[in-house]
Amino acid sequence: MPHEFTFSGILIPGLLLQLLLVLFGYAGVELMLARIGVFRWVWHPALFRIGLIVAVFSLVGLYVRF
């Protein structure tokens, strides 16, 4: 993934696109987890969700190459 790419002369950070991608993917994962009932066993759901987003975003940011 290049650091930045241009869109009609405007510089856009590559990380931003990855973040958007992760957020969309995450929404699906979250609904699945809720259906399985994972959130009933989590002590602090908000903290859990934030942790999950950070983990997934880091993974995608570090290892996914386009």
């Binding site: 405007i10 609904l31 809720a34 009932g37 959130f39 009933r40 908000a46 903290l47």
Partner: protein, 702 residues
């Protein structure tokens, strides 16, 4: 001794509330400082805007913060994009640019009136972000994209800080408020059922209950939206909650219809009254837990629902048997009235069963197969919405033209505030009051900003000292924000405090700028207030009449609705309009009560008409039904007396055809009687003398 206990409980309650509010104030102030610090560190152009965003999205409940944040960022992105386009197209011509922006703001206000939730907020944001980005960039068009990106960045940073702190630090859960609301609603409704079914209840008390239920229905929808963002598993209950709300409305309405028929019964003889009341009492007993209490949770509602279902399954057989045995002994007229009342009771039983089943279904984590219900759409008057848009357009354009004509350096601050003010309060029931509340906050915030900027800030070096010295000032604002009554003042205070001093990494101190900027802010907000006060204020007689007439016209609209969900849709439309009426500032209790009575009568008449339409009786054809609807719609202010004899003649005709226990004929008769009773009430409301005496009665009684 016994007197002291409640006082102690009250004191503890007050203490708990105070604690929650102080916690909110502290948390919000910390989030503001966090956003400010990060914005300084990231070297953003306007760190103050990140802090302002935190203030604006800070609501007491975590889910609401996330929902508002989500729509804020959507609106900001849309508005930023539009601003860049406008600057690209019209930067050479200030007048063209101003007109384009004013049109955009006006359209945003029109769009926002279609939503009652935070979705409206996305439209408002899209509207005024154009001003925030476009006007600073119009002098130097090359910077437009940079300004837009900076705006999106500070807003994202602000919602990130505000959202994180509100969900992580002692969050106040939307889900638990939602559960509390649903439980409270069930409890109050079942208490009301008990009062109606077992004892006599006054129409006034029933009206009060209806009004509080109208608020509940709206609040449930709001909390449901917020809980989606807070807890992912609440999404699984979303469909059931919507169904619960729809079933609740239907049950309340048919309870009211039963009350209406029961109230007309004193003319029947004692024997039939006793029979009816014993059946009502039986229904009431079935609505309770084994110990006789009200089900306190969804879990406890499961056995109640199953017992109710059992009672209703053999209800018809029993009714027919008792009627057959009674018909010899009773007079013909009271027999008919009894039949009608029994059918209303039966219908109420069915609907309260549906409500209890929906409530019981909430106890399961997963969805069972869902009964489909139509989506509840908020009812909008396109003309009133366009007028609100036109008002925002005029306010922005007027200030913009003044800016161009006078070549005022700080003019664009005034335009921004005119746009913010005329769109933010457009949906408020009393926009002038809301805007004046905010400008009071601005005035106080201005004083604080002057003190801080002139005396404190020059002595501070580095962010840590800035944060520590600003905290007490911030806390004043956030503490006000924590209380519902002073929230507007608090927000205004915080906004002025944070934007007034143009915080940047390398500070320049210029008191003249602070004064000029604040003056422009006041002028802009003043223009918005003026527009609200002059241009079709929501309190004006014309607007109120229009809202009322559109409610009455729903009857005719429902009759032409051939869909299977016609009833649910009619009900949700009328209730939405009624809730709109209730939020309007009224001239006195008596007028408000009259409007509510009118709405409830419209509801009852419309439902009876819908039922008659579905029965397809040869005596009551479609032409007659639309005649009744037209008579109601024709004149809200004239009596419908001329249609009443026709209704009565048909009822007598049906009564003659009533032989023995023909169930479907009895059902039609019951619906027709309900219609007649509703029209009688309508007549009483529309006859000025009668309402005058009712008002006088209310005055004497108080």
């Amino acid at each position: 001794m016994s007197q002291r206990l409640p006082k102690r409980a009250e004191f503890l309650q007050a203490l708990r509330e105070e604690g929650a509010q102080t916690l909110f104030a502290l948390r919000t102030a910390c989030a503001v400082l966090l956003a400010l610090g990060l914005a300084f560190r990231l070297d953003l152009d306007r760190p103050g805007s990140a802090a302002v965003t935190v203030l604006i999205v800070s609501l007491s409940q975590a889910g609401m913060v996330l929902e508002k944040s989500f729509y804020r960022i959507l609106g900001t992105v849309a508005g930023g994009t539009a601003a860049v386009v406008f600057v690209m197209l019209f930067a050479q011509q200030r007048l063209l640019f101003t007109v384009a922006v004013a049109v955009w703001v006006g359209l945003a206000v029109v769009g926002s009136s279609w939503y009652r939730s935070f979705r409206a907020y996305a439209f408002i944001l899209a509207g005024y972000t154009v001003c925030l980005v476009g006007f600073p960039a119009v002098e130097t068009p090359a910077l437009a994209y940079h300004v837009a990106i900076d705006r999106v960045a500070v807003v994202s940073l602000g919602i990130l800080c505000g959202g994180l702190l509100s969900v992580l630090v002692f969050p106040r859960s939307t889900v638990s408020s939602l559960i509390g609301l649903v439980r409270g609603q069930v409890c109050r409704f079942l208490t009301l059922c008990q009062q109606v079914l077992t004892t006599e209840m006054t129409s006034g008390a029933l009206r009060e209950a209806h009004m509080s239920f109208a608020g509940d229905v709206v609040n449930l929808e709001l909390l449901r939206g917020g809980s989606h963002f807070e807890a992912p598993d609440s999404r699984l209950r979303s469909g059931r909650l919507r169904r619960l709300n729809a079933d609740f409305m239907q049950a309340v309405t048919s309870l009211h219809s039963y009350h209406r028929v029961r109230r007309a019964m004193p003319y029947a003889d004692d024997q039939s009254l006793l029979l009816l009341d014993s059946m009502a009492a039986e229904l009431d007993r079935a609505l309770r837990t084994v110990t006789g209490g009200i089900p306190a949770s969804a879990q406890e509602a499961v056995p109640v629902a199953s017992r109710l279902r059992e009672l209703l399954s053999n209800w018809d057989v029993r009714v027919e048997a008792t009627l057959a045995s009674l018909s010899q002994t009773l007079a013909v007229s009271s027999n008919e009235a009894l039949l009608a009342a029994m059918f209303q009771l039966r219908q109420f039983g069915d609907e309260v069963l549906a409500y209890m089943e929906s409530y019981a279904a909430l106890s399961a984590a997963q969805d069972a197969v869902e009964r489909e219900i139509p989506p509840t759409a908020s009812q909008v008057d396109p003309l009133l919405a366009s007028l609100a848009g036109l008002r925002a357009f005029s306010a922005v354009l007027a200030v913009g033209v003044f800016w161009i004509a006078s070549d005022w350096t700080y003019g664009f601050y005034a335009i921004m505030l005119a746009a913010v003010g005329s769109s933010l309060f457009a949906a408020s029931p009393d926009p002038v009051k809301a805007a004046v509340g905010m400008s009071k906050g601005f005035a106080l915030g201005f004083l604080a900003a002057v003190a801080f900027y002139g005396l404190v800030l020059p002595r501070m070096d580095g962010f840590l000292l800035l944060a520590v010295s600003m905290l007490p000032f911030l806390l004043i604002g956030t503490r006000w924000m924590a209380r519902q009554e002073t929230a507007g003042i608090g927000t205004g205070f915080g906004l002025m405090l944070l934007t007034g001093q143009n915080l940047t990494n390398t500070m320049t101190f210029d008191m003249t700028q602070l004064f000029n900027q604040s003056l422009a802010t006041f002028i802009g907000l003043g223009a918005a207030i003026l527009a609200y006060a002059v241009f079709m204020p929501p309190q004006s007689r014309w607007v109120q009449r229009r809202v009322r007439h559109s409610l009455i016209r729903e009857v005719g609209r429902a009759l032409s609705d051939e869909d299977e969900h016609a009833r649910a849709r009619f009900e949700s439309r009328v209730r939405d309009r009624l809730a709109q009426i209730l939020t309007q500032p009224m001239q006195g209790e008596a007028i408000r009560n009259r409007w509510v009575d009118e709405g409830l009568t419209v509801l009852a008449a419309g439902l009876a008409l819908l039922q008659l339409r579905d029965e397809n009786d040869p005596v009551i054809d479609a032409g007659f039904l639309s005649q009744v609807a037209a008579a109601m719609a024709f004149r809200a202010d004239f009596a419908v007396g001329d249609i009443l004899p026709a209704v009565k003649a048909r009822r007598l005709q049906l009564a003659q055809a009533l032989q023995g226990a023909d169930v479907s004929a009895a059902r039609r008769f019951s619906a027709l009687l309900a219609l007649e009773l509703a029209l009688l009430d309508w007549d009483a409301l529309a006859t000025p003398d009668l309402t005058l005496t009712a008002v006088e009665g209310a005055i004497h009684a108080s």
